[in-house]
């Protein structure tokens, strides 16, 4: 079953575009990364899937259920971690955790205690006085305590220190191994590359790529670094060309034979050809927007 499936999903805020004709499929059991800069439409997509905002057109199903007609049934199986969490004034952390559990009609006390210990969160403090990082931890406990089938996480690691980020991803990996689907929006491409099996890139409200993370990396250019000198002008398919102190670096998406021919006429001391990381791929997709030709 698909955990998330959208068909031509569109959301406009008046005349302003949110997302446009989004066709996205996340299979159940995926650890899925959703990549895009601010304003690309990540949060709009997530908020539409959760029923916080209604789509202008198109449709979407979460765990096989329609987001418009079966919102309550969907939310029984889904937990959401917002990028910035807000809590009711005057309530302690443990009150917020208990409120979240009661709203789900479940007793999650044991799992909540376990998560608090792992994340080193003191739930006896007033929620609205917690630091940004501790608010994030509290929101994580609220979201994860109910053992949901689908976790929707919007920029989940903001505010967490590196140790906590690692612990958080360990928890996510455990949940994923026990069958949960993870849908994670992020700016931090390294964490998507490290933890996600599949990813989608959204640009200006439109989905521009969706594949396995390895395939996304392989389908793109190679990072070429040359120590020495060579005349690269006959080559096409070069991007991000940088030269400094005898080192030439560029992304190359053309055929290898012309590259080797050009390099053989130059003075090359060293050469490396590597797969670009997701960050470079991301930039590649966004450069396309700036220069569609």
């Amino acid at each position: 079953m698909d955990a998330i499936k959208t068909a031509q999903l569109t959301k406009y805020y008046g005349q302003v575009r949110g997302i446009e004709s989004l066709d996205l499929t996340v299979e159940e059991g995926d650890f899925f990364g959703f990549i895009g800069p601010n304003g690309a439409g990540k949060s709009t997509t997530i908020r539409t899937l959760l029923g916080l905002i209604a789509p202008s057109s198109g449709s979407a199903k979460v765990l096989g259920m329609d987001i418009g007609r079966q919102r309550e049934a969907i939310l029984k199986e889904v937990a959401y971690l917002p990028s910035e969490s807000a809590f009711y004034p005057g309530l302690r952390g443990r009150d917020m955790i208990a409120l979240s559990a009661r709203l789900r009609g479940r007793d999650c006390a044991a799992e909540a205690d376990r998560l608090c210990q792992r994340l080193q969160l003191d739930p006896s403090k007033k929620a609205d006085t917690l630091s940004f990082g501790n608010k994030k931890k509290l929101a994580i406990v609220c979201a994860l305590q109910s053992q949901p089938r689908l976790l929707i996480l919007d920029e989940p690691t903001g505010g967490l220190d590196p140790l906590m980020q690692r612990e958080f991803f360990e928890i996510l990996k455990e949940r994923h191994e026990s069958g949960a689907t993870i849908f994670l929006s992020s700016h931090i491409l390294s964490e998507v590359q490290r933890y996600c099996s599949r990813a989608a890139v959204i640009r200006a409200g439109e989905l521009i790529a969706c594949d396995r993370v390895e395939s996304l990396a392989k389908s793109s250019a190679r990072r070429i670094v040359i120590h020495g000198q060579a005349d690269l002008s006959p080559l096409s398919g070069l991007r991000q060309l940088e030269e400094s102190e005898g080192v030439i670096s560029f992304l190359y998406s053309g055929e290898m034979q012309p590259l080797l021919a050009v390099l053989s006429t130059g003075q090359i001391q060293d050469l490396s050809v590597t797969e670009p990381d997701l960050e470079e791929i991301f930039m590649h997709f966004y450069e396309k927007e700036a220069d569609p030709s």
Partner: protein, 262 residues
């Protein structure tokens, strides 16, 4: 009933302060009546000669020398204004505060329908207004008994019922407005309560705008008419209940379909 209990807990401090303050001032007014009783004849003459102002507050039809005449004016000022402010503030904040405090994302991403959220918040409003009025009513009866006056139960009950209905109407209208608002709900609530109060005063002074009495809920709380006729004006009460029902319907219509933006 999770949202209902949560809202009661969230609002308990404000509820206790409003109930305590209204109850305190109402009881003080009753307790000073024996001292003022002897001076009331002179006061009644003074009030009766204040022209439009006298009519505006219905003082031309009430005898300040009697407990019920005195209580009607005092009750109108204390319960009529403060009770209305409480109802309007509470109603106007219940839905809007979720977006204002950015807790709407937390609440509405749990498996609870928006209809249920609205219903439980509405139940909170009705419960708080009902309990406040019951406490105030019992306190009023107790205070009158404590100063050794006989209790004009029917008139007191009618007066309190009228102000209870006024609070329900204003609370319900503000609850409806709350669904449309994100910020400024307190100002809207207080403004509406003050505006309807002023509308009643103006309608009492100027016959040309007497139609305002069919809009403002203060019209069916006119103590002089309630005491004089021994009943509430059910036409005005009916209009008020319809307006309140429209407010509640608006809350469901708007909030069930509202986009909750960041």
């Amino acid at each position: 009933m999770t949202v209902f209990l949560h809202e009661l807990r969230q609002g308990r401090k404000a509820f206790c302060i409003w109930t305590g303050a209204i109850g305190f001032f109402l009881a003080v007014c009753v307790f000073i009546f024996p001292e003022m009783k002897g001076e009331m004849d002179a006061l009644s003459d003074t009030f009766a000669s204040m022209g439009s102002f006298t009519a505006a507050f219905g003082m031309d039809r009430l005898n300040f020398g009697t407990l019920i005449g005195y209580y009607t004016i005092e009750c109108g000022n204390v319960l009529g204004l403060a009770g209305a402010f409480f109802a309007a503030l509470t109603g106007a904040g219940l839905l809007a505060k979720e977006e204002r405090g950015r807790t709407a994302d937390f609440l509405l991403t749990h498996p609870i329908s928006r209809r249920r959220v609205i219903s439980e918040k509405l139940l909170t409003l009705l419960t708080e207004i009902s309990v406040l009025n019951l406490v105030i009513f019992l306190l009023a009866l107790g205070s009158i008994a404590a100063i050794g006056e006989s209790i004009p139960f029917k008139d007191i009950a009618h007066l309190h019922l009228a102000y209870y209905l006024l609070q329900l109407e204003l609370g319900a209208i503000c609850f409806g407005l709350s669904a449309f608002l994100r910020r400024g709900s307190a100002g809207v609530g207080l403004g509406l309560a003050g505006l309807t109060y002023m509308m009643n005063i103006i309608a009492n002074i100027a016959p040309s705008v007497e139609f305002l009495k069919y809009i403002t809920p203060y019209a069916f709380c006119d103590g002089a008419s309630i005491v004089g006729e021994g009943k509430l004006d059910m036409i005005k009460v009916g209009i008020g209940l319809v307006l309140g029902a429209l407010g509640i319907a608006a809350a469901y219509w708007k909030y069930e379909n509202k986009d909750i933006n960041q």
